[in-house]
Symmetry: C2
DNA sequence: AAAATTAGAACAAACGTTTGCGCTAAATAT
DNA sequence: ATATTTAGCGCAAACGTTTGTTCTAATTTT
């Protein structure tokens, strides 16, 4: 067993050519540099025989290229982001690049470290659903020529491209649906407060309520997690007056709501209605199929990728900041009070 | 804006020391090489000022280290594997390494390419839930000194460490539960046929049935996907005689079952009972809470990581191939026929 | 006062590629 | 027969680090 890692030098020696020639053949530049078929075959064959594995470190160091895109998301354990990761991964691979995924765990510090890690790995592009606090770093990266595209989360005040859902619109749709069905006491349980999607959803909720001339029952919570949904729902249910509907800002939160309501013997939608942001394959098969605002996740990913590669290839880009329309999926969790 | 990427050479010049010294300070080897506090401070400060980002390509090339662990799974869109990815990612990060994730999409060819990619990125360890056809390659890697640990899926005939669930036992538990409740016509819908977990589950199912002296109603399917579960359930429901229970070998499959049964107006568990492998937060809140065999995913990940790092650090390892006990979670989807 | 030790740091050779440029021999044009 | 082009390939200098070895001046020991 050869203990020594084989390099193109070994191939060159064995094939009786220069390392230059080996490099060119193995990089598909044989035609360009008119290497004879004979040499090509010889080289490719010895490479195979020797079990050659190119060393990206060396190649990357010299060429400055890495063929790598970074994806940083707040939480791989959130199905919404898991789906994004899956999509992005596939798309990127299709274009001959590979993805390295970072999970920031919603933590500014971790996100920052991931960012450093990624940069030191010479990534050529960055897709990120930012936690929200490292905006200036991202802006700087983008300005320095690293193509950055934000996904889902973004910065309104910074000139960084993004692709997301029209969260405001989505929240308005959800709220209006509730209002149309006669709900007046509507509690909203939110996720990460300083994330843009959350802010816009809250705005949409508030505006829709205001337009109807109704005060929100409550707006609480601070995390896109089941625990948060559970805790806030418990608190809500223990108030002297209960809402007639709850608007959860993610399926993870909604899951917590359902859990709390079941514990407290609150029926959905008979006692309290529930509507959520984000869709999920299971929602249709819950005890009460959950009405939701569905985000066009696939399209978001595709557009973001398209955007990114346009920048990588220096093509002209149209709209830099795009918001895609969400969709209201009517299921059974909202009761008509009229 | 400095167009030129700053290197330790720049720092050395500006700080008035050699690049050796810079390298040593920035790598935390200052004490070891007794660099004065003064130089240390100077170096660290100029590094910060110049916005220095280490170049992993260069460092890796020279040192041969990458601080990188690869994780290859069959499908990021399967919640079971998404959870694994999330766990692994966190654990690896805690140990100062970073994870690069590959999604093989259950495809032997893609898996192979991912493997090559990973190797050319000089990974120091590999965690993989293999598709099943690249065993010899993995064996070879492992023999060549790259620590490899299989997760969930593994190879029985090869001497590669693995951590998984006792799938046989799990299937036996599920089947016996069904049998104890008086079910005799039991259909099993399986996932990827040549994956070890699937094989062992099928074995467990068959053995438990045989022990009860009952023939399986049917064993069909070939993919851990919703589509597969849906299709096979549809087929089953159109047979002249229906089973009294279905054993789905994953939640994704179960989801397809539920969909098909709903379409055909089959009530769970009144008309047909359903039990599944794998747990999921939503299972408790489905129209019929789904009884399942829950895998100790967290423990699997932890043990796999522990194993991997033991090998990395050349520590002595105890058991190389471990199967963890699954757990039967009683919910409401199995009807007692007695 | 000479010898030995120690603190603090620098030299320079790798690591495995990529790539601009240059070279030779053969083929073709003049 | 000479000049030009072309086919086919190699030289050697990077890329930005890490690291074994060496060096000098200062300090301590004898």
């Amino acid at each position: 067993m050869a203990r020594h890692k084989v390099s193109i030098v070994d191939i060159a020696k064995k094939a009786g050519v220069s390392i230059t020639t080996v490099s060119r053949v193995l990089n598909g530049k044989a035609e360009q540099y008119r290497i004879s078929k004979k040499s090509q075959n010889k080289i490719r064959e010895t490479a195979r025989k020797l079990n050659y594995i190119p060393n990206q470190f060396a190649a990357g160091l010299k060429s400055g290229k890495s063929n790598t895109i970074a994806l940083i998301i707040p939480s791989l354990s959130n199905p919404f982001f898991a789906e994004i990761a899956s999509e992005i991964n596939a798309e990127v691979r299709n274009r001959g690049y590979i993805t390295i995924i970072g999970d920031s765990d919603e933590d500014r510090q971790i996100e920052n470290e991931e960012l450093l890690q990624m940069r030191s790995r010479n990534i050529e592009g960055l897709l990120i659903a930012p936690t929200g606090q490292n905006g200036s770093i991202l802006k700087q990266l983008n300005d320095q020529g690293l193509p950055v595209v934000c996904i889902d989360r973004y910065f309104e005040e910074l000139d960084i491209p993004y692709v997301s859902t029209d969260n405001y619109q989505g929240a308005v749709m959800a709220t209006q649906h509730l209002l149309e069905y006669g709900h007046k006491r509507i509690a909203c349980i939110q996720g990460k407060q300083d994330s843009v999607p959350n802010k816009r959803r809250i705005e949409g909720f508030k505006d829709a309520m205001k337009e109807a001339g109704i005060e929100p029952f409550s707006i609480t919570g601070n995390d896109f997690s089941e625990q948060n949904g559970y805790k806030e729902t418990k608190l809500i249910l223990h108030k002297r007056q209960r809402p007639t509907a709850i608007f959860a800002l993610s399926t993870t939160i909604a899951l917590g709501c359902i859990k709390a309501m079941r514990e407290e013997n609150v029926a959905i939608p008979d006692d309290i209605s529930l509507i959520t942001f984000d869709d999920h394959p299971f929602l249709d098969y819950l005890a009460t199929p959950l009405t939701c605002i569905s985000q066009p996740t696939r399209d978001i990913c595709r557009m973001a990728i398209k955007h990114l590669f346009f920048k990588l290839e220096n093509k002209e880009i149209g709209e830099k900041q795009v918001l895609l329309k969400p969709e209201l999926k009517y299921r059974k969790s909202v009761r008509n009070l009229l």
